[in-house]
Each structure stands twice: as C-alpha cells, then as structure tokens.
C-alpha cells in the first residue's frame, strides 16, 4: 500500500519512512507513516477533497497544517467514540484510524445539498432574518427543522462517552506556551536561570515552524537545533515539557487552563490512561510564544481543494515529506512566501508562476521565480477551476491580460498574524501595527505575561530566538532568579514593512473570507451596506469568525473588507474579541473524573451499610444518601411507610439522623451567640436541657431550625437541618468573626463525629435502657422531655443522649462516635427486638412530622416568616437577634399572608397533592383567586386519612373552612377542611411519659 503514497517525497521530512501505518478515510484504505497527521497522510495519497462547507456544501480540501484549519474537518472514530468536526491537520495518524467526511449526502463527491449553491444570491448574509415568517406557525413545523437538519457539520454520537478523563494541577515559576524558536529559547533561558518551567506545546513534536522550514540556526539545520534544545530542556530537573498540550485559556491570578491529549494519538486509550487531561497551571510568569497564523489573499473560488496557505505547503514538504501537489502556482504579497516556491522546486514540484498582487514589482520575488523556473507575474488570481480539486487557475496581470495555468496546487499568503489570543483573554485589547499590517499584543497584557516571537510580531528567525531568550530571562528575573547574560542580540531592524493585499477585486465567483461558514467578500460588503459597520456587528450578521476555527485565518481579512466598504482606516476599525478556548476543548476533559456517580462525592450515613443489608431504598438528600424506607419483600411503598409509622407509634422505631448538621459551640459567650442567632432565648437554658430554636436571615425570613442542647455552662451542641448544615456553620462564623468578634465563642462542625439515631415510640425507653451501662437513669423524672446528657452505653462507649422528638412519641436521640455507628444500629435493633423495633426511613419520618405539624424543608422554603410558620410568638421581644428588625416589617406579619395550617380532605381517601394551590370553595383556579399552596402531604395511618400542611392566606383564622385544593397540572380538584396542623396528640402528652 505504501506505494499508493504518490505524493510522498521519499526520504524527506520527519516522518518515519521505515514504518507504515494504515488508516481509512470514507471507507477507503490508505497508508501513511508515523509522524504524519491525517492531513499529511491524505495529501501523500493524493487525496485533496476532504469535506464540505457549512452553508453551501462546497467541496473543501486542506488549507493549513495546524489547529487554525477551517476546512478539513472529519468525523474521527466510530460508534460511541465518534468525534465530529475533528481537524485532519491536527489528528496524529495511528494504525487503524477511521475517519469520515461530513456534511454531505450521499457522498463527499456527490452531495445533494450542494444545490444550495444555486441559491446563493438569496442566501446572502442574514437572509433568514428577512424571511421564513409566513405563516407564523410554519417556523417550528417546517422551516426550523429544515434549517437544523441542514446546519451543523458532523454527527454527534448519542452514546455515553466510553473513555475517561481526569484533571491535574501544576505550579511553576514560568509557563512557556509554544515550542518554536521563541518558546524553546524562552524555556531554556528561564530554566537555566533556575526557574521552575513548564513548556506546553499543542503539537506532538517540539519546534514549531522550525520543523517546517529549511532554516539554519547556529550553523545547524533548524530542525536539529530544535531537537538539541528539546534534549537540553529534558535534561534540566525543573523543566517539564508537555507535548500534545494546548493552553486554551488565561484566567485571573496566573491560572492557565490547558488540555493534554494523552491518548488521542492511539486507537483507544491504553488501560488506566485517560483520553485527555485538563491541567490547571498556576504560573507566576508566562511567556506566550504561540507563533503566527498565516492569512490567505482572497479571490474567486478560493475555496477549491488545492488552495493552500503558503506556509502550510512548506510544512507538508519539509516536515511531512509530502508534496501537496505536482504543479503549483504561488500567489503572495510577501517575501516569506517565496520560500514556498523555493522549497517546492527543491522537492521537484513544478512551480508555474509566482503571482504578486503588490503595486510594485519585487526584485527578490523575480529572482526566486527565476531560480524556481517560474514566471513572475504582477497581478491577481481571477478564477480557479476544478470543483472537486483545482485543475487550473486564471491569472490576470497588472496590464489586464489573463493567462490560464494548469496546476493542482495554489499556495497563497497575505502575510502573518500573531497568535495573540491568550494575551487578550483577560480583557486586553490588541494594538494595530501599521508597519506590519497586523494586530499585535497590546499594552494591557494579563499580569505576569510576556510575549515573544511571531506572537509578538517578531517575524524573523533571529528576532524569534532573541526575543524568546530575552522574555524567558525576564520572566525568571521576576521570579527572583538571576539569569546569565543573553546570548543573542536582537536584530537591529526586524520590521519588514508589509503592503498587504486582502482580496482580488473583480475576480470571478465567490471569494470566501470565512471558509467554514461560507462567508464571502460580498457578504461582508452587504452587511456594511445594511448598516452593520463594526466588526462585531458584521461577525454576528454574517457569522464571520464564528466557526470552529474562530476566524483564525479570516478575521483580519474581514475587518479589512469592512474598513474598505465603510471608507475607514483599517487600524481604526477594531477587531472582535478573542475568547477562550484557543482551540475547541472537549467537554469530557473539562469535567474530568466528575461524571456519572462521581459527579459529586457521596456522603454515607454511619448506618448505610447496615441499611443496605436490610434492603433499604435510598434517596439523595443533598450530598447524602439517606434511607427512604425499609420495604419488606412484596410490600408496596405506601404499605411500608404505613407499617414503619404505625410500628413507631405503637412499639418503637429507629431512624438514622446523623445527617443533621451538628455544631459544637463552646466558650463563655456561647449562650450569647445563640441568643443573637435564634429568635428565642438561649442564654439561660439550663445545663442538661435542649430547646427548639428558629433562625432568621437578616431580611427577616426563616433560615433554619433545630434543637440546641446545653452540655455544660460553656458548651452547646446545635443541630441544623441536613440541607442547611453548611450554610448555618458559615452563618455562625460570620456572626463570630464579622459581626461580633468581641464574643468569646468557638464553633466547629461535629456532623461527622457523631452517629446519631432517633429511637422513638412508647417502648423507646426500654430500648435505650437496655443499651445503657449500669447505674445510669433515664426515667421520666431523672431525664424528662428535652433533657440531655452524657452517658456510656454498650460497655463504656461514650454517648450523648437527648430526649427530643420529631415524631411526637416518647423518643431519644442517642449519639456515639461515628466509628461505632454501624455497631450501634445493630445493637439497637438487637436490644429492641423484644419490643418490636423496626427501622424507619425519611418517608415515615416525614409522615410523623406532618402529623405533628412540624415545619421542615418544604415549609422552610426561604419565603416564609416566623409568623407564617406559626412561630411568631416564639420571638423574644427583649433582645436584638439576626432578622429581628427586618422581620418586623409589616408585610412580613400581615394577616393576609399565607400561614401554616393543616388540611384534611373531605374524603379521607383523596390525596391532597403537595404543590397544589388553594382557592375558596367555590372559586375558580385562577391567579386572582390564589390563596396559598400545599407544602407537604402524607397518609396518616393513625387518623386513616390523607393530611397535609399548607400555607393559606390568613390560614390560622379559617379553621373549619372548606377550601378547594387545585392541581390543574394533573387535572385534580379536591375539597379539604382547614384544621390545626397538629393532627396527632396535639397536647403533646406522648412526649412526656
């Protein structure tokens, strides 16, 4: 098969000619060499047609040799690993590579939607804003689906990405971005000065343009110099070289985002290796040596396969050993591109002509043309023939004469633009350099950033080497190192003035500016005519620069056309904004490990494993998994809950409440702090007692509730709801540190330290007594309702016991150090066996608290006040506390507010769905009649009816009234009676036995 590489230049370039690699493109088998990209291998095999454009489905080839490629996008890999829109110019060839062209049907050569080209006059810039409006209903049904199908490029896989990703963090003194002449010099200078250096290179080889040119450095071929520099860097202990790593963004504080393509050059990631790795690099200094990006000169049908940037042609010839064509024409307005003619000729490619659009003839160009055996013509390209690949070009000379050249390659260059994207990510603006005719990095670089080489507008090799070295040394100096004297003097005059030509006037056919998005010169002009006169408006109206290449090869040409069309100086027109990422970044890499079950950490309660053994059903509560219920085989969910509730109310149940937030509050002023954060008083709470408290936000709305126990004069133990644990800790720290730093109080989270179980039910005491070590008394007299204390259980295990009840039954909460949590639940079950103990989950817990009318999450929704929750009377009038003043605003206390009540359906068997809204019995379900909503609902096995808690306008004054419960979302309406929220044991007798 190797024999099919008809355009391979034997022995030339850096590819490994000794080995072949086989691959497929559109189902056809080809071969290439290690060191090839898909693009170079395709070109080696004489394949020029690679893709179709976005709008007109025009046949497209390969324009560049790097990550700026707008045309040669393919679907790489198949099945779940399919990667649409992958640039053939950056895909490293591997054995078995399988790529498919995209945006064509039925085939690349014969594409039905290329009929769009016929309608190009109608499909001008922004045409869709002017049409598809009639009739209105047709948009969703007809126009939009049609547009959506036609738009987009490759097909995404709809299967879960099978590869894994990870993230890593790195720190350095100096981050060098790019490994061309400038980058290697910068890294060497900084590393030799002693700085910790990271060098990132998006390519798989170090060297940048050095790999692509036939330059010499210090008397050696540049490629050799690059290899030696890389080897020297590798040998330095504090220099880390990261190949295949693109720095995609600069962020505040010296943070750089980079993505390393760990396994993309392999068929599949090796075992244990990720596909890609996101790096967050924290650098004290950075040196951007990202090089330059060549821009084309535009002319009619400049998008034909075979039109290629002049620098890319050299890359294919010199680095990959591939002749991108057999017969070439060079069309350029600059000196640099003449090397293309030279290198092509040296590689045996016939160069027919060098076409120079500049007003003045160039003696140098004329000479190069002579040496390459080409004609030197001052003029422009008028047209390009050959839809699926260039067959010939027509050149119009300065005198108006035309000449047709048969050729299969047209190398074009309009000059170079610094790759300055990263220098603007923190809001910096590039500056216009009128001598170089390009944008260069501005003054307002991100803090700690320097720019060198072509990225700084230093285009000669000498200047790249010198500026790289100087920047590397300077960066090291900023980090406190003393670099040795610079080796390379900066060249005296390095600013070859450019006479840029942006496009050829009056050429035939569409001249494309933005290839991928099919934006032509005429579109930019049309936009200007319609009043879109700033680059950003033109971009948005025409989509210029919005494709996957982000206009790397087109933005400046676009601005130049706009400047001309609006009669302005190009330097004054400005530019659009560069944004991260520099090149597109896979979402998988940005997510790293955090997908699937690893999206977020999972917090497991101390009884988790035991609960699993019991067959518990779990539910996510924030980060926690909690047991929702413990179904017995064959039991329906409602039956389970009923059983758990009834058993708790008649015998005894146990529930893991360890997930509640627990905060240890110590110090002489602990009571005072609590006084200020709770609406009710805590300072005088006796030692050995607990109290329920409600906290407000400073705006007067309820924030959280819970019980707090006083374990010693200077020691309280606060509990919060599971959901708000972090928020409350943070709030307390705010109060301590910001509001009242004078208080002598210390808080620390104890949530993880204690495994805590609620043991509830008439027989609860018996169970606890069975666990208590001898000589301790928890009788009702010794340890009444709301008592708390330290005990030992199960032979010396330290325990805290609280006589608290959420269920409304006689109940205890028993806490032990969490490492005993698993053993304790087993011990509780064992001790309770003779009393009929059964575990209950959060569902049963919810039923019982609703039966008792205790507010919880659905009622503490951040929109309710103490008044709404029926707790207004609890508020102390003697002290200031968080939320007091704002909580007294009239609107937070007025009678008409929705306040908490109970609801019983007139028919006990009818559910009152949570989230239903309430209206008067005879009123319609409309906004004007809305009087509140149902917060929580349960079936009460004890009362044998559904019950609910609701927030009802003026609710407490409407006991006995029948209201309509409306759930139009599910088409239900029910009548219910307003009642007290305390459904079961309203006097609380059961708590106190």
């Amino acid at each position: 098969m190797a024999g099919n590489q008809i355009n391979r230049l034997s022995g030339k370039g850096l590819v490994d000619h000794g080995k072949t690699v086989s691959f497929q493109f559109d189902g056809e088998a080809f071969s290439g060499h290690p060191g090839d990209t898909l693009a170079s291998a395709l070109l080696a095999n004489g394949v020029r047609l690679v893709g179709r454009s976005f709008k007109y489905h025009r046949p497209r080839g390969i324009l560049t040799a790097g990550s700026e490629e707008p045309n040669a996008l393919v679907e790489l890999r198949t099945g779940a690993r399919r990667e649409p829109n992958t640039r053939a110019t950056t895909i490293e060839l591997y054995d078995g590579l399988d790529a498919t062209s995209q945006n064509r049907w039925p085939s690349l050569k014969l594409d039905v939607l290329s009929v769009n080209q016929l309608a190009t006059p109608i499909f001008g810039a922004g045409f869709y804003y002017k049409t598809f409006m009639w009739p209105a209903a047709f948009w969703e049904k007809l126009y939009e689906p049609m547009i959506r199908r036609a738009a987009g490029l490759g097909y995404p896989s709809k299967l879960s990405d099978p590869d894994h990703y990870e993230k890593s963090n790195a720190f350095c003194d100096v981050l060098v971005i790019g490994s061309g002449a400038a980058g290697l010099s910068a890294a060497l200078a900084a590393a030799k000065a002693g700085a910790r250096v990271i060098l990132c290179e998006e390519d798989f080889e170090l060297g940048g343009r050095l790999l692509a040119e036939s330059d010499e450095i210090d008397g050696k071929p540049a490629q050799e110099w690059a290899r030696a520099a890389a080897a020297e860097l590798e040998s330095l202990p504090d220099c880390r070289i990261m190949r295949r790593t693109t720095v995609f963004g600069a962020y505040d504080g010296g943070v750089y985002g980079a993505v390393e393509r760990v396994s993309d050059h392999l068929p599949v990631p090796p075992e244990h290796a990720p596909r890609q790795r996101l790096w967050r690099i924290v650098a004290k200094q950075s040196v951007v040596c990202a090089g330059g990006i060549e821009r084309p000169i535009l002319f009619g049908n400049n998008d034909r396969p075979g039109v290629m940037l002049a620098g890319a042609v050299r890359t294919y010839v010199n680095r990959f050993g591939v002749a991108p064509g057999r017969t070439a024409v060079v069309f350029a307005d600059n000196h640099d591109a003449l090397r293309t003619a030279t290198d092509l000729a040296a590689a045996g490619v016939a160069v027919r002509a060098i076409v120079d659009p500049r007003p003045q003839a160039s003696a140098a160009a004329e000479q190069v043309a002579g040496e390459a055996g080409a004609l030197y013509i001052r003029g422009g390209i008028e047209n390009v023939r050959g839809a699926l690949g260039i067959k010939s070009v027509r050149v119009k000379d300065a005198q108006g004469g035309t000449k047709e050249f048969d050729c299969d390659l047209l190398a074009t260059s309009g000059g170079w633009n610094p790759a300055l994207n990263l220098t603007t990510h923190l809001g910096g603006k590039p500056a216009w350099d009128s001598a170089l005719s390009c944008l260069v990095p501005g003054e307002d670089l991100p803090p700690g950033m320097q720019v060198a080489g072509a990225a700084a507008g230093q285009f000669s090799l000498q200047a790249c080497l010198a500026s790289g070295e100087a920047a590397g040394a300077e960066a090291a100096k900023h980090c406190g190192f003393s670099p040795s004297a610079l080796r390379r003097p900066a060249p005296a005059q390095d600013r070859a003035p450019a006479t840029p030509v942006w496009y050829v006037e009056n050429s035939r056919g569409k001249a494309f500016v933005d290839f991928q998005n099919d934006v032509a010169v005429s579109d930019v002009k049309l936009a200007a005519r319609e009043g879109f006169r700033v680059p950003d408006h033109v971009k948005r109206y025409t989509t210029l620069g919005m494709a996957t290449d982000q206009g790397k090869t087109s933005n400046l040409n676009g601005a130049a056309i706009l400047a001309e069309a609006t009669g302005r100086y190009l330097g004054a027109v400005g530019s659009t904004t560069f944004r991260p990422p520099y090149t597109p970044v896979a979402l998988g890499a940005l997510a790293g490990h955090h997908r699937g079950k690893d999206f977020r950490p999972t917090r497991l309660a101390p009884s988790h494993r035991w609960a699993e053994e019991q067959g518990a059903v779990f539910v996510e509560v924030g980060a926690w998994m909690r047991a929702l219920m413990y179904p017995k085989p064959g039991e329906a969910a409602q039956e389970t809950v009923n059983r758990e509730v009834s058993n708790t109310r008649t015998n005894v149940g146990v529930c893991d409440v360890s997930t509640l937030g627990k905060i240890d509050v110590q110090g002489p002023d602990a009571g005072e702090l609590l006084n200020r954060v709770y609406i009710n008083a805590f300072a005088k709470l006796p030692v050995g007692k607990a109290r329920y408290g409600l906290m407000l936000r400073e705006d007067g709305f309820a924030m959280d509730d819970g019980t707090t126990a006083r374990l010693a004069e200077d020691h309280f133990y606060m509990t919060t709801t599971t959901a708000n644990a972090l928020k409350v800790s943070q709030h307390l720290e705010f109060c301590q540190q910001v509001l009242w730093p004078e208080l002598d109080v210390q808080t620390v989270s104890a949530t993880e330290q204690w495994a805590q179980y609620a043991v509830a039910g008439p027989k609860a005491r018996k169970v606890i007594e069975a666990l208590l070590d001898a000589g301790q008394d928890i009788s009702n007299d010794a340890f009444p309702y709301m008592a708390c204390g330290k005990f030992t259980v199960c032979g010396g295990t330290p325990a805290r016991i609280f006589r608290l009840s959420f269920s409304g039954e006689l109940a205890y909460e028993i806490g032990v150090p969490a490492r005993y949590g698993d053993a304790l639940i087993r011990a509780i079950i064992k001790a309770g066996a003779e009393h009929g103990i059964a575990p209950y989950g959060t569902e049963a817990l919810g039923v019982m608290r609703i039966e008792k009318g205790h507010a919880a999450g659905p009622e503490l929704n951040g929109q309710t006040t103490a008044h709404d929750l029926g707790l207004g009377k609890m508020a102390s009038t003697k002290k200031d506390f968080i939320g007091r003043f704002m909580g007294e605003r009239e609107a937070l206390n007025e009678a008409g507010r929705a306040a908490m009540v109970g609801l019983k359906p007139l028919n006990p068997k009818t559910r009152i769905a949570s989230g239903s809204h309430l209206v008067k019995r005879d009123a319609q379900a409309t906004g004007a009649n809305d009087e509140g909503y149902v917060t929580s609902m349960a079936y009460s096995p004890e009362l044998e009816t559904f019950i609910a808690l609701a927030m009802l306008s003026n609710g407490p004054a409407r006991m006995g009234e029948v209201v309509k419960v409306c759930d139009p979302l599910r088409g239900n309406e029910t009548l219910a009676e307003v009642c007290s929220a305390h459904f079961v044991d309203p006097e609380g007798g059961r708590l106190r036995v």
């Binding site: 097909y155 709809k158 879960s160 009043g531 990422p581 409306c966």
Partner: protein, 416 residues
C-alpha cells in the same frame, strides 16, 4: 423596506446591491421627548412600544457601544414563563404572548422557536416544588406539564438515566417555552423603532445626568449634552454605574454569567433542558452548536468574563446529565454582566428624580422578558402609571418587605 419573499427575490436579482441600512445613523438632536439609555433588548423594545403603542416617536436610544453588544447579544436565548410568584408569573406570561406575535409585529424573523423547556427533577421534594410552580403557571393561563421519567426519556433519550449521581425522576415541561435568536431581537426591535422615527445613537456613552430642582432635563454624553423631558434607563449590567451618576444607590450588584457554545453538530437536542442537581442548562442553536450555561461566577464584577472553576462546574454538570457530550468541544465561552437584584426580581419604576425612570434587576433572566419589559416600561413612561403586569416591580418593596423572592435566597444577589 418591508421584508417579504418578494423583496428578497427582487434584491437577489439585483445582486443584493439595493438593500438599505437596517437603521439610520443619525446625529443626536438637541433634545427629545424621551431618551432611553441603553440599546439592549429592553431599551430597543421600549422604544418600539413607545412609538407603536403610545405614538411617542421623538425618542432617542443612546447606546455606548453597538446595539446588541450587551446581554441581549450574549445570552443563552431561553424564553419561558415558568415562574412561581404572583408578582412575576402574569408578567412573564404576557411576555410569552408578545414573543408569539413578535415577528409579525416587527417584520423581522427572530426565530422564535417554541421547542419546549424541560426542567428535570431528582427527588420528591423537587417534584413538589415544581408542581407548585407548574400550578402557579396554570393559574395564570400558562402551559405546564408534569412529566414522569419515561416521558422525559422520550424527549431526551441520551440523558443519563442509569448511572447518575442524581438520577432524573421526571420533569416540568413548558411546551410553549423555547429559544429566540438573540441578536435578531435587538436588530428587529431597533429596525422597527427606527422606521417609526426613533433615533438610535450608537457609540455614545451617557456620562452624566443634568438634574435641575429634582427634575431631569437631559443627559451628558460623549457627543455632548442632549436635552430630554424624560429619561429612561435600561442598561442592565451597568445599572448601578449609570444610576450612580444620578445619585441613586440601588438594591443591585453586578455579576458575571458565562455562556458556552460547542462546535456545530447535526441535531441532537430538540428541546431546552435544565439540570436541577448540577448547574447546567442547554439548547441547540439552529446553527448546530449546543448553547449552554450554568451558575454565575458569584462575585461582583464588571469584567464581562469569567473564571475557570465555573467553566469546569458547567462541564461537570453537562457530563453528568448527558454523558454523550464528552467528545463534543466547547468552541467559545464568554460572559455577560448581570444586574442581580436583592430578591432576584426586576424593577420597573420611577426614581426619586422627576422624569427619570429605571428598568433593571433582570439577573440572568431578562432576555425572555424583553417584549413585556419594553411594553410595561413604555406604559410607565408614557402614562406615569405602572402597568398592571409590572405593578410589583417597585423600589419600595425592599423597605416594605413585599419582596419577590422566587428562590427564597434572601438579600444575597449571588445566590439568586
């Protein structure tokens, strides 16, 4: 020039050489009846409705940059009316109605796409909260459906139902919700206002206000003083900065929200989806890019760009919801300045300065409000009375406690 099939063809036949500017580029007049500060969606829609509904055409919209350069041109384009509280829901539902007739009204295709907005939930508690919201929507005549897991699967089969940390258990769906082409909204309203005589003055920042005896008399700008009987602010993320020039201190903080777009792909996602457990919401643009976003960065800023932690957070949410997007690539990320109000709801009101009006506090949700905001603001400016749909959007609600706090987060703008 009216857009029609005929005008499109006629122009195509003449090489598209005869299209006229979509708006004029007038020099400012010495004075106007109304000056609107801010050429975003709200400013331009206000101008359109002032002219069309109230016949007030001696109006200038003054924009410091190019029109649409603000949030109207950088948002994730989601429109919906799935609000909870009575202060909000009727307003946003009115906005939905205006969207539905927008293109005929302004003769501009803004690609109003009613592809549906799906909010998934993961627990019974979240479901109940969504039910409360869905019912509130139905009470005010909006559409809402509660979907179970299988119905969600039918809409978005590639969501992770099997291996998720927070499994999807259902969703609240608003079929009439969807997306609208962001830029087209600015341009369409601008074109319509211009054609009715409104002057759109670009690249002209307002730098101060001239207030005499407590009454506004005009604005200082980069192009000099311009007199006005009434001045109406609609500067979104710049609200505090601009209001401060008139001596006002607002219940607003400026924050940044980032948004993202992937490379264009063939159709994947046919609806708008919002992931409750992570910070991620996503739709696919007609061009093929997945457009998505997440949480705000969370600190006061005027920098119009965000930081890496939120980029990662959003990607993590995306991968957790749709693990098939791992190999799709983010093409561009950007930020917009949000006027985050203290209760998360907007303000459309008079100010203590006579003749100076304020519109702001839209947080990350004002794009969908663009038509109704313009409608109600124009009403306020023209009549001096708040429009009934926007009657709750007053400054004094913070003093009285009649806040409109959809999320129940309190006076903490970065949490709304």
């Amino acid at each position: 020039m009216r857009y029609s099939l005929a005008s499109l063809i006629t122009n195509a036949l003449s090489g598209n050489r005869n299209w006229k500017p979509v708006w004029r580029e007038p020099e400012p007049k010495p004075s106007y009846d109304v000056i609107i500060v801010g050429g975003g969606g709200h400013g331009l829609s206000t101008a359109h409705y002032l002219a069309k509904e109230h016949g007030i055409t001696n109006v200038a919209v003054i924009e410091k940059s190019y029109i649409g350069s603000g949030n109207v041109g950088r948002n994730t384009t989601i429109v919906r009316s799935n609000y909870l509280l009575p202060g909000n829901e009727p307003f946003y539902e009115w906005s939905m109605k205006l969207w539905e007739g927008l293109e005929q009204d302004i003769n501009y295709n803004a690609m109003v796409s009613q592809r549906g907005v799906l909010n998934v939930f993961h627990s019974d508690g979240q479901r109940d909260a969504f039910v409360r919201r869905g019912n509130a929507m139905r009470f005010y005549g909006a559409d809402a459906e509660l979907l179970d897991k299988e119905q969600v699967r039918a809409l978005v089969p590639f969501v992770d139902f099997d291996n998720a940390r927070f499994p999807v258990r259902g969703g609240l769906f608003q079929p009439r919700g969807g997306t609208v082409r962001h830029d087209a909204v600015a341009w369409g309203y601008g074109r319509s206002a211009d054609s009715r005589g409104v002057d759109i003055i670009q690249n002209c920042a307002v730098t101060g206000f001239r207030i005499e005896n407590g009454r506004i008399v005009g604005v200082e700008t980069e192009k000099g003083f311009i007199g006005a009987k009434k001045v109406a602010l609609a500067v979104a993320g710049s609200s505090s900065r601009v209001a401060q020039m008139a001596g006002l201190r607002l219940p607003i903080e400026a924050h940044v929200l980032q948004a993202f777009v992937t490379e264009g792909i063939k159709p994947l996602l046919d609806t708008v989806i919002t992931f409750g457990a992570g910070h991620f919401y996503c739709s696919q643009s007609d061009k093929g890019g997945l457009v998505f976003g997440g949480d705000i960065d969370g600190y006061n800023t005027y920098a119009q760009r965000g930081n890496l932690p939120v980029v990662e957070d959003v990607a993590e949410g995306g991968m957790a919801l749709i693990p098939a997007i791992g190999r799709l690539r983010i093409l561009r990320s950007w930020g917009g300045l949000l006027d985050m109000s203290m209760d998360g709801s907007p303000i459309i009101d008079k100010t203590p300065v006579d003749g100076l009006y304020f519109n702001g506090g839209w947080c990350y949700g004002g794009f969908k409000a663009t038509p109704a905001s313009g409608w109600c603001y124009a009403h306020l400016i023209a009549t001096g009375e708040p429009h009934p749909y926007a009657a709750a959007y007053r400054f004094d609600r913070f003093g009285s406690g009649r806040v409109i706090d959809e999320k129940g987060m309190g006076a903490q703008p970065n949490l709304h």
